[in-house]
Amino acid sequence: MNDSWPRDARVSDDDRTKYTELTESGDSPFETWERNELFVFAAAYGYDQGLKTELEATNHALFNWDSLTDSQLWVLKSIAVEESADPDVLDEGGEIDQVAREYANGGINRLYQKYTGTDDLFAKLTEDAITIADI
């Protein structure tokens, strides 16, 4: 990770509340997850569902970018490459941060909507994973 990356992944207060509720509520499938894990998941989910959403005031640092694994980073980097259709974006940490947070913004809101709705979120997400994967 080069110097072009910001230190933290920042989200809005409203999104922060959703991350907290989804990772702490006893009936949430993400109860045992860390917030950075849910962020990467939300970003990938948001990308798959085409939910890129403009960011509002992002007052809250959700996690430090350094805390992600290589695999998680490559998921987010690839989304940024596909978005810009240019592999040179890999050198632009700020650009990757922006794209990842926009997709995560849409993703977390949709996941939260599903969590508070009537769907069995666990069943839906695991089914999606099986359908999309090349198996």
Partner: protein
């Protein structure tokens, strides 16, 4: 070691007249056995000790509630308005009694009933070869064995069978808190929290927006308080319902009809199977979720990963992305002046020029682009492999669901059959079974209600936190009340620190309890395999056998559960820091015959260097059990019950 040297009773329940039980033990023989049939008065010896010390009887039963403290045989000659008295004395010490605790009681006869009264605890203590009356006996008692830890020294073994049933996490948590001596810390935290609230309210006195927010905070906090009261009520109702279910269960098990017995057994076994299957399903679900954390992002982003991989491949094909060679490796070659094959790399030579060119071209290529070429295929592969595992886990979850449905159907059928049984001259099986089913439904509904209320409390608490943040922000904006803000901030920091200290103490005690439980459980259990017990941060207990990593807590036999509970009690009595004697009523509870003998063999080592007094039924203290324990027994008594009176006869 401090021992109970003697228990003296006068006219206490069925112990009519004067009764003395000498429990002084010899070196190496630290066990006392008091044997008696059910109803002979074993539990009342346990009760005598706790009534004397703590003014409460440990063993509760429906019969005891209606019976007077003073022996009925003494009261039967009295008229309404008259009273009779009695006392209990417990002598504690090492060889010689150093502490003599005494509690007197009296029973008044009222028309058709009795009225019990107890007097204050008295203590005579040996000082300079003389017994002196101690002014504050409770202080001395608290130094020997305070009320909050007494249950780990003086307890009813039969009740332990239920200890690791539903809701055990709360019991484990309570036990650990009892022995952690954090009472003062808890009081300080509560006090500081109140102070913080008061300061915050002061902030509310300021006019304008902060005051309005304070009103909202007060309202939400009042709602939380109401909800907490409601949860406490519902929990009490649930415990009461569970106790009624247990009473019916005992009655049904006592039915003489073989078909009823078998149906009750099958019903219980089906319930246990369903519970185990649900636990296994939840474990599989958790595994699938853990997998989803790791591979879900790669699966959802497969399209992007493949696109990026293709882009990097194209760069590579165009020669814009050289094979991944670390630039430091090339620099080292140039510096060493020799290739790893032994060929020299001379300064200014074509070879060195070529290497320099390669290194310069590499610095123009992003390291990320180079890494991506090898990383992305791995991430895609991991995603696909993980999705395959998730598919397999979902299949297994679905199998468990089918089995759960089948078992639930069987359970429904057995319940219906039981409700339809009419056995003349026996207990009313049909009525009891119907009552039990209704109570179980009620319990389930209560559990749901408790969960819902708990969620509401959590949400309200979040709301309070948000409001407090908003209030602070408003105060800051106004640039006023700096001092109040500093005070709030100080109180919050202090609270956080104190909660941290409390958590650290509890974590340490949890670890010690876990270690002790492993030691005692493997010491007491009759199996040769070494079991591993884990005590989780949420006070859940996991037991693993050497051949499997599955948690066996849900599938332990009654005997194993009893041993686990005994291990927990021993672990806590150790950690409590008090070296008090141990008194256990029915220590082997409902354990079946073979394991019973084996536990008996290990029981003398249960707590070394501690006096242990076991109150045992004749079914527990069999010839085989006696044979296993005899070498450690100091005193043995038989309780002989006749005409409503019990005599303690030395054996």
């Amino acid at each position: 070691m401090t021992e109970i040297l003697k228990i003296e009773m006068q006219n206490y329940r069925q112990y009519h007249g004067e009764t003395t039980i000498d429990l002084n033990t010899d070196r190496g023989r630290t066990i006392n056995i008091i044997e008696g049939q059910n109803g002979a008065g074993k539990s009342n010896i346990l009760n005598a000790v706790t009534l004397c010390f703590y003014e409460q009887e440990t063993h509760q039963s429906e019969d005891l509630d209606t019976l007077p403290y003073v022996s009925e045989s003494v009261l039967e000659d009295l008229d309404p308005g008259e009273k009779a008295t009695g006392y209990i004395e417990v002598h504690l010490g090492e060889k010689e009694p150093r502490y003599i605790f005494r509690r007197e009681f009296e029973t008044y006869v009222t028309p058709g009933d009795y009225n019990d009264q107890t007097k204050d605890l008295k203590l005579r203590m040996l000082k300079n070869d003389q017994y002196e009356l101690v002014q504050s006996p409770l202080t001395t008692l608290n130094g020997l064995l305070p009320a909050e830890v007494k249950d780990y020294f003086i307890f009813d073994g039969e009740a332990l069978t239920e200890f690791f049933e539903e809701g055990f996490k709360q019991r484990v948590r309570d036990g650990i808190i009892d022995v952690s001596h954090i009472g003062v810390l808890n009081d300080s935290i509560d006090h500081l929290d109140t102070v913080r609230g008061e300061i915050q309210r002061k902030a509310g006195n300021i006019q304008g927006e902060p005051a309005k927010i304070q009103e909202e905070i007060d309202e939400v906090e009042a709602e939380i308080e109401q909800l907490e009261d409601r949860v406490a009520e519902l929990e009490e109702q649930r415990d009461e319902t569970q106790s009624q279910i247990d009473t019916i269960e005992t009655k049904l098990r006592g039915a003489s009809d073989a078909e009823v017995q078998e149906l009750v057994e099958t019903k219980d076994s089906l319930k246990q199977d369903i519970k185990d299957l649900k636990q296994e399903r939840d474990d599989l679900r958790q595994k699938a979720l853990n997998k989803l954390i790791r591979v879900g992002p790669a699966v959802y982003a497969t399209r992007a990963l493949e696109f990026t991989e293709q882009q990097l491949d194209e760069l590579s094909e165009k020669g814009q992305l050289p094979p991944k060679v670390q630039d430091w490796f090339i620099e080292e070659l140039i510096e060493d002046g020799e290739c790893f094959c032994g060929r020299p790399i001379e300064a200014g030579s074509d070879v060195e020029d070529h290497l320099q060119e390669l290194r310069n071209s590499m610095s123009d290529v992003s390291t990320d682009q180079l890494e991506g070429k090898s990383e992305i295929p791995r991430v895609i592969r991991e995603g696909n492999d993980g999705a395959e595992e998730i598919r397999d886990l979902r299949r297994r979850i679905s199998d468990k669901d089918t089995k759960i449905r089948d078992k639930e159907q069987s359970l429904k059928e057995k319940k219906e059959k039981l409700r339809g049984i009419d056995v003349p001259d026996d207990i009313d099986v049909s009525e009891l079974a119907t009552q039990q089913d209704d109570l179980e439904d009620q319990k389930e509904e209560l559990n749901i209600k408790i969960g819902q209320k708990q969620n509401q409390i959590d949400n309200k608490q979040d709301e309070v936190n948000r409001l407090e943040e908003r209030q602070k922000e408003e105060l800051r904006k106004k640039g006023r009340s700096t001092e109040i803000l500093q005070q709030v901030s100080f109180a919050e920091t202090a609270l956080e620190e104190m909660r941290g200290i409390r958590e650290e103490i509890l974590t340490r005690i949890r670890r010690e309890t876990e270690q002790n439980m492993n030691y005692y459980f493997n010491d007491l259990i009759w199996k040769e395999d070494e079991y591993e017990i884990h005590l989780a941060d949420d006070y859940g207990v996991e037991i693993q056998s050497p051949d499997s990593t599955d948690n066996r807590i849900g599938s332990l036999s009654a005997g194993e559960k009893q041993v686990l509970a005994l291990s927990f009690m021993a672990a806590l009595s150790d950690i409590s820091g008090f070296s008090a004697p141990v008194l256990i009523d029915t220590p082997l509870g409902r354990i079946s015959s073979k394991p019973k003998e084996r536990i008996a063999q290990n029981l003398p080592d249960y707590l070394e260097d501690t006096q242990m007094t076991f109150l045992m039924t004749d079914e527990e203290y069999t010839d085989e059990v006696q044979g296993q324990m005899q070498h450690r027994v100091a005193n043995e008594y038989q309780l002989v019950y006749s005409d409503g009176k019990t005599k303690v006869v030395p054996q």
